[in-house]
């Protein structure tokens, strides 16, 4: 049976994850909590708007209402960049400590002790580094712009009408997927770039916005929230999900999936619901394991540890917990 160690923070949990195998919770008031550490709390920002795990797993990166981008480790927080008067509402981590962040119509990259600025005509709502870190994808109104992080190559525009609010690369870098304001995902297949073509994929049918996205091990599936089940699109074939039907896991008639997190090595997806319930579902046979009963509010963040034996979650109402699924 899984065991749950509950925590109560009384503030919206923006990010629940692990640093060096230790649970960490970043709250919207700007505090970062390490409940298993002797030094339990670090103040990262005055008002926190965005947070993500660094790619090496040793720190989290946060963006705040104070215009600061911070790197937080167990007992300290350091300023990565400061943009006075700006709200840092999007953040992304890249290889070798690279940090991408955005405010309004501007995106920045801090890499190799340099800062680079990318201006856009419309607000940047989503950010993602390509797997090798050479490019930064900026989701915006009517598409995605790909910038070169190193050098001065011309950016590439991927057009698709509508508001793109989040963007991610597939682990192999072949696909870029955005979540849209109109209850759909949009994908571009990037391996045709020599011919200049990109293949479009429209993944629609969600009753609400699919805001949480997670790639399964080796990029076989893309799991998404926004429906009564975790909607998983198959990406293992040559054409990705084109012409294929997605699978739904952990379906509940009376609830809505708001958070998904795929297991680091196996085809298992952790599913968080709008009523605070958490389940784990095996993709092979759809078998479900209840990990947490419903609580006070929607699950806002959900992550596995590197070994795939523990899960942390946080909710909009500040409830959080550490779930041990190792038996």
């Amino acid at each position: 049976m899984p065991t749950v160690t509950p925590y109560d923070f009384d503030e919206y949990v923006e990010l629940a994850t692990f640093i060096n195998n230790q649970p960490v919770f970043a709250l919207v008031d700007g505090t970062v909590h390490f409940p298993l550490s002797p030094n339990k709390t670090v103040q990262a920002n005055k008002g926190l708007l965005s947070a993500t795990l660094s790619q090496d797993g040793n720190s989290i990166l946060t963006g705040g209402e104070d215009g600061r981008v911070m790197r937080v480790v167990n007992d300290a927080a350091e300023v990565v960049s400061e943009q006075k008067g700006k709200w840092i509402d999007v953040i992304a981590s890249g290889p070798n400590g690279a940090v991408g962040f955005a405010s309004g119509r501007t995106a920045w990259v801090v890499a190799n002790n340099e800062i680079k600025q990318f201006d856009h005509e419309r607000a940047v709502e989503g950010l993602a580094f390509a797997p090798k870190g050479l490019r930064l994808a900026c989701g915006r109104y009517n598409g995605v712009t790909l910038h070169w992080v190193v050098g001065n190559g011309a950016p590439v525009d991927l057009h698709w009408g509508g508001a793109h609010t989040q963007v991610i690369y597939s682990p192999d870098g072949k696909y870029i997927v955005s979540s849209m304001a109109e209850n759909a995902l949009h994908g571009w297949r990037m391996d045709d770039k020599k011919s200049g073509d990109v293949k479009h994929m429209r993944m629609a049918g969600y009753p609400t916005k699919p805001k949480s996205l997670s790639w399964s091990a080796n990029g076989k599936w893309l799991a998404s929230s926004g429906s009564q089940a975790a909607i998983c699109w198959p990406f293992s074939g040559k054409d990705g999900p084109i012409g294929k039907v997605p699978k739904g896991f952990g379906a509940r008639d009376d609830s809505m999936v708001v958070c998904v997190a795929c297991h680091p090595t196996e085809d298992v997806v952790a599913v968080g619901y709008i009523d605070g319930m958490v389940m784990a579902v095996k993709m092979a046979d759809g078998s479900e394991a209840l990990l947490r009963h419903p609580g006070k509010g929607p699950i806002s963040s959900l992550s596995w540890d590197a070994g795939g034996t523990r899960i942390v979650f946080g909710s909009e109402e500040g409830e959080a917990g550490l779930i041990d699924v190792s038996e």
Binding site: G85, A123, G297
Partner: protein, 365 residues
């Protein structure tokens, strides 16, 4: 999730209408409440305050490129960010640029599910520069839209105009928007409780505290003597105030004050249509309102109404912006209250004959 939604006030007004002065008052006066203010540029606001958020206007088309189905994408993000911390603000104020169309701002609070779960449009407040508004009407359609859209209109800087000019201005505003609540001010010295927490978009209060609605439009011209060729809808029994539509053909013995002013207000293109009937057939009414807003939505700036359905003990209230309509049961009809349906449309190019005819076709048998 059943907690009260945070009220949002939208402040519109042309350059020089006094918006900044009003914002500064809201941020600095001791009114016991905490408002977050979303502005396009910090620039003009002299106060350094962490309750002010700068946000670039991002218009997003939401419905396959329909030009009227737009939201402010930046507000979706900022409002959600502001409301993640519970109890942090008593309300949010959105300042729009002088040239802004108020519709995308208002529609954000209806079309985006995440926003509407947490925030609720309270009122659109339009500031009007009393001295320059007649000029604005000639050169800027946005100025007229802002008045057409407003729940509350503040005629500001009235100390700079004569009594006559003020009355003409009032008539012009009434002509564009007969149902707005009008206040006058000098240097934006309006009582803040007339601006904040109005509940104008709240379905529970719709039309309730709108004195003009009850009489279709209330000219309040006591020396008017109605004659045989005056075709007011005198059936409006409410008090003495003879409600009538603006499209009536006035006769020689009709001495409306506002008609004498028409020469100076011919620059308005927005008109309103007030409708009144008995109980409505439920199915016919819903298919009518849906069809009308789908087809004529781009021309409809605002609509509001109270609907009576046979066998339904509750008043049903509707309101809308362009193609968006929402409705809900409000409260039981009172024993001494006449069960009737009243609606108003404010917009451009509205076909009065068609709207009246199709509305009347929905009356319950």
């Amino acid at each position: 999730m059943s907690e009260a939604r945070t009220p949002v006030t939208v402040l519109t007004g042309y350059l020089g209408s006094g918006k900044t002065t009003l914002l500064n008052r809201i941020l600095s006066e001791d009114h016991g409440k905490k408002y977050a203010v979303i502005v396009n540029e910090f620039g003009e606001i002299g106060i350094d305050n962490d309750l002010i958020v700068e946000s670039d206007e991002e218009i997003y088309e939401m419905n396959n490129g329909c030009v009227c189905c737009t939201v402010r994408g930046d507000l979706v993000r900022v409002v959600q960010g502001l409301l993640k911390r519970k109890g942090r603000f008593d309300g949010i104020l959105v300042e729009t640029t002088g040239l802004a169309d108020p519709a995308p701002v208002a529609q954000t609070f209806f079309m985006d599910d995440d926003v509407r779960a947490k925030a609720q449009l309270d009122a659109v407040v339009g500031l009007v520069d009393a001295k320059h508004f007649p000029l604005r009407l000639k050169d800027a359609p946005e100025a007229e839209d802002q008045v057409a859209f407003a729940d509350v209109v503040i005629l500001n800087k009235v100390d700079l105009v004569s009594v006559d000019e003020l009355e003409k201005l009032r008539a012009t505003v009434r002509k564009i928007n007969p149902h707005a609540i009008i206040h006058t001010a000098e240097r934006s010295n309006i009582a803040l409780d007339q601006v904040l927490d109005r509940g104008s978009f709240d379905l529970d209060r719709i039309l309730e505290d709108d004195p003009h609605f009850l009489h279709a439009h209330d000219h309040d011209h006591p020396d008017h003597e109605c004659g045989p060729s005056c075709d007011h809808n005198h059936s409006d029994g409410a008090a003495h105030s003879h409600a009538h539509s603006h499209e009536h053909d006035c006769g020689p013995d009709c001495n409306h004050e506002d008609h004498k002013l028409d020469a100076s207000t011919h620059d308005t293109t927005v008109k309103s249509i007030s409708l009144r009937a008995g109980e409505m057939n439920r199915d016919l009414f819903f298919s009518w309102i849906n069809k009308l807003t789908q087809i004529d939505g781009p021309d409809i700036l605002r609509l509001k109404g109270i609907v009576a359905f046979p066998g339904d003990d509750d008043r049903f209230v509707v309101q809308g912006v362009h193609m968006i309509v929402e409705g809900d049961h409000q409260r039981p009809w009172k024993a001494d209250e006449k069960r009737e349906t009243r609606m108003v449309f404010i917009g451009r190019n509205l076909d009065r004959e068609k709207i009246e005819r199709t509305f009347n076709a929905c009356v319950a048998a």
